[in-house]
């Protein structure tokens, strides 16, 4: 068998098959919880780790291909592993390992579907994502892509008795399907009439003209954007993520969105040989809008999972900004800078996978402990579930982009890329890009705001409900999963240099350039994208200094003075009748944002007047795009189907007239 001579690819295939096997194994004893959670899911996690290791190794080796005797007769399954796909495989493996571990502790009997079925759908989801990353022809890619959409759809709707869940699932699958159609068309353009849908051919041939290339790129942007939650195709995201069980939301947000990024990169830099600069500008602009939109809506959410979903939209926007910069630089042959921007984007993908999975899993633990999703009924959980709280703190700081954690690294790299734009030969861009940088900075700052709200309202303060005091901390497997991801966040934050070096292989594959050598120039301790005197950052020193100072100060204070502590009632300016209702709610945190950025939202507010006998406050914040884009399309479809209904009015004479007219017309036409 010819495909057994190159190791990594075979291992990847093996792991894909293993995942499928684990899923099917779940059906053997569908209702046996122990069997699923203690055997299958941990095995899946182990497979994830193995996948990550393999892929990490494969990144430095050169691309390998193989052909499986499956698929269409004249288009068998082509598989290929290169630096790009290996990177995303590693991401999948690392994130899924944590999520699977968590799921082993999270899964309960009698909830939604039977454990076995869930196990099947979950592992098929993993397998299809892995298959996407190694697919090397249009057909396999589409098969894997849609299988991913389907399996995740079933996971999303696993609590299908709830009507909102159903509608969310439907919206999700619909948009996914529309996007898939766009991707299919994109491949159709890329194969440029050769009729061969292997990626190898698409690399070789070029669309006829720049116009067709642009069409291909736009189709890809549309198709993959629909999956990534790019504006204005984001509508499914804040619906589907909250509806799904938390580990699934984690995987969807942390990894599935990245498949779209992968696809976009694959098409833009690999299948298309040349890029046009304004593609980059377009992507950059869209990314900015998406990021700002996401973070603003995240700031006004009152449901913790919706909040995280919107924050995912924001992060995807940031990644797209990086890609846009990379395209622009690339189009102007500034390869080193393109590499820098791309590294920033990829690094952010990795980071987002970690901290977003972590936070979604945290919401899962909170959900199981309290049965509450609404921020308005949470609070003070740091006392009842300290482990989760402290791990969640890491995720929160990371996603808020604070040094020395991982979120900051990618932000830092991205801002560096922006600062180095003045080299661009187009004066307009020179003027505009800094403004974009400003908007990006605003996004970062806002995400800090959002995350303080998220963490503070859930874990800090007084419990807003009595029952919260009884909340229990997460179990062993859950903690393990959370820990895995949290450690990942810290390591990625503190030791970025090796990762960046590894990413060099990806950039040199896609752009023929890498920032690796300039990074190693000043040792593993410092990131120096271009040169030490231009910019450098060393999270480790950063961390060490702060830790040292904290320790020193602590000891000094103890030594010189004392460590005495007394407990008393809260001071609060001496106000004695303090209740938990008096703290700021999530609503309250959203209020300034609503007020400052009013034009972004569609707000229905009822505010009490001083004269109300029964005063109440009510406010619904909605997405304008829903009313501007989605509803009109739906209405149009309805109207059309109303029109065709006229064709069938039940009168046989009319039907006969149809046949008659058809006959006459054709006769007239045929002679």
């Amino acid at each position: 068998m010819p495909w057994f001579d190159f190791i990594p690819l075979n291992i990847v295939i093996g792991i894909i098959l293993l995942w499928i096997a684990l899923g099917v194994a779940g059906l053997i004893a569908p209702s046996n919880l122990q069997y699923v959670t203690r055997a299958l899911l941990p095995l899946g996690a182990a497979a994830g780790v193995a996948l990550a290791a393999t892929a990490f190794a494969a990144m430095t080796q050169d691309a390998a291909v193989c052909v499986l005797p499956l698929g269409l007769p004249d288009l068998p399954f082509h598989l290929r592993i290169d630096a790009l796909s290996a990177f995303f495989l590693a991401l999948l493996g690392l994130a899924s390992a944590g999520v699977s571990l968590f799921y082993a502790g999270y899964l309960r009997a009698g909830e939604d579907n039977s454990p076995g079925l869930t196990c099947l759908q979950y592992h098929l989801f993993l397998a299809s994502m892995a298959a996407i990353f190694v697919a090397d022809d249009g057909y396999l890619f589409m098969v894997a892509w849609e299988s991913m959409a389907l399996s995740s759809y079933f996971l999303v709707t696993s609590n299908h008795r709830d009507a909102t869940t159903r509608s969310a699932g439907f919206l999700y699958l619909l948009i996914a399907h529309v996007g898939a159609i766009g991707i299919l068309l994109c491949f159709g353009v890329l194969q440029a009439g050769s009729g061969d849908y292997t990626f190898a051919t698409m690399r070789a041939v070029e669309p006829a003209s720049a116009g067709w290339m642009t069409v291909a790129y736009l189709l890809a942007l549309f198709g993959f954007g629909a999956k990534a939650g790019l504006l204005p195709l984001h509508a499914w995201l804040p619906e589907a993520h909250p509806a799904a069980p938390s580990p699934v939301s984690a995987l969807m947000s942390g990894v599935m969105l990245k498949t779209a990024i992968y696809g976009l990169l694959r098409v833009t830099f690999d299948l298309l040989n040349t890029q046009i600069w304004w593609w980059g500008v377009l992507t950059l602009a869209l990314g900015l809008v998406t990021a700002l939109f996401g973070v603003l809506f995240a700031a006004v959410q009152t449901d913790m999972k919706r909040l995280l979903a919107y924050s995912s939209i924001e992060n995807i926007g940031i990644v797209l900004i990086g890609i846009g910069l990379a395209i622009t630089f690339r189009a102007f042959d500034m390869h080193a800078l393109a590499a820098l921007a791309l590294v920033a984007a990829l690094y952010h993908c990795l980071n987002h996978a970690f901290f977003k999975c972590l936070l979604f899993l945290v919401t899962g633990s909170v959900l199981h402990a309290t049965n509450e999703r609404s921020l308005g009924r949470l609070g003070g959980l740091i006392h009842s579930m300290p482990v989760v709280a402290w791990l969640a703190l890491i995720g929160t700081l990371a996603i808020a982009g604070l040094p020395p954690l991982n979120g900051f690294v990618s932000e830092w790299l991205l801002l560096q890329a922006f600062l180095l734009t003045p080299g661009l030969p187009n004066s307009y861009l020179n003027m505009l890009v800094p403004v974009a940088a400003a908007a990006l900075a605003l996004t970062f700052a806002l995400s800090g705001y959002v995350m303080v709200k998220f963490y503070g309202v859930i874990f800090l303060g007084q419990p807003r409900e009595e029952k919260l005091k009884a909340a229990h901390d997460a179990g062993g497997f859950e903690r393990l999963g959370l820990l895995w991801l949290a450690v990942g966040c810290v390591l990625l934050g503190v030791l970025p240099v090796p990762i960046i070096l590894q990413l060099g292989t990806v950039t040199s594959q896609l752009l023929g350039a890498s920032i690796g050598d300039s990074v190693v120039a000043s040792g593993w301790l410092f990131i120096t994208p271009i040169a030490p005197e231009r910019a450098s950052y060393s999270p480790l020193i950063f961390l060490v200094v702060i830790a040292a100072v904290v320790l020193l100060v602590f000891l000094l204070v103890r030594a010189v003075y004392h460590g005495r502590v007394r407990r008393g009632a809260a001071w609060d300016c001496g106000f004695p009748l303090q209740t938990s209702r008096m703290q700021d709610t999530a609503e309250g945190f959203g209020q300034p944002i609503k007020r400052i950025f009013e034009m972004f939202f569609r707000i229905e507010r009822h505010e009490p007047t001083p004269f109300d006998s029964a005063p109440y406050y009510k406010s619904r914040t909605e997405d304008r795009l829903w009313y501007w884009l989605y509803l009109p399309v739906a209405r149009l479809a309805e109207r059309l189907s109303g029109w065709v209904g006229v064709l069938q009015r039940g009168r046989i004479h009319i039907y006969l007239i149809y046949s008659f007219a058809t006959l006459i017309l054709l006769l007239a036409f045929a002679r």
């Binding site: 069938q648 039940g650 009168r651 046989i652 004479h653 006969l656 008659f660």
Partner: protein, 220 residues
């Protein structure tokens, strides 16, 4: 025009056929429709006979015989018994006004002739010009089916269409092979029986044979 006698006869028959078709199109009363249908059958079998005689093809005699038996005797008799049993002999049905129907019919005839013209020039049978008439009569019976509101006349229109086809078969090509002829004849017979069954079922369900009862299934 110096055609052989047979050809002239055939053309005459064709003309008669067309005439009857028009008559049916304008006929309101069911009973007379049935008679007209029988006449059409007679013309048809006569025509077949003439072709058989002039071209000396034995199997056409059989088919003439079948036609006679089926379309002049059996079917009209069946239909007649049917409407007697359902006692609707006297039924008169209202249709969209006849002159317009006629005009449409004439337009159809012109269309059909033009359609057949090139073919007729190309063909070598003595009876080539009849193709146009065949098409015309098919289209006319189609038109008739469209204009009828009641079940029985619609069925008669259907059978008349069958006649037109048969005419085309015999006069343009000297008849289809025997197997096919028999098959077609069988289908027509069975079809008529089934129609009969339907009449009774419809009748007992809706206690009338008005098709306007059959307009419930639709997109609303």
């Amino acid at each position: 025009m110096n055609l052989p006698l047979s050809a002239q006869l055939i053309n005459l028959m064709a003309a008669l056929l067309l005439l009857i078709a028009f008559a049916m199109l304008s006929q309101r009363r069911i009973l007379s429709l049935i008679y007209l249908f029988a006449w059409q059958g007679a013309v048809l079998s006569a025509n077949t006979l003439i072709v058989a005689w002039s071209t000396g093809q034995p199997h056409l005699y059989y088919s003439a015989l079948i036609t006679l038996a089926l379309k002049v005797i059996v079917l009209p008799w069946l239909l007649h018994r049917l409407i007697v049993r359902l006692d609707i002999e006297r039924d008169v049905e209202t249709m969209i006004n006849i002159p317009i129907t006629m005009l449409i019919g004439i337009a159809l005839v012109i269309f059909a002739f033009n359609l057949a013209l090139p073919i007729a020039q190309w063909a070598q049978t003595i009876t080539r010009s009849t193709l146009g008439i065949a098409i015309a009569s098919v289209l006319l019976s189609f038109l008739m089916m469209i204009t009828r509101r009641k079940a029985v006349p619609q069925v008669i229109g259907f059978l008349a269409m069958e006649n037109g086809l048969f005419f085309a078969a015999t006069s343009t090509t000297y008849g289809m092979p025997m197997v096919v002829e028999l098959g077609i004849a069988l289908d027509v017979l069975v079809g008529t029986f089934i129609f009969g069954i339907f009449f009774f079922q419809i009748r007992e369900t809706f206690d009338s044979l008005d098709i306007s009862n059959l307009e419930k299934l639709k997109e609303d």
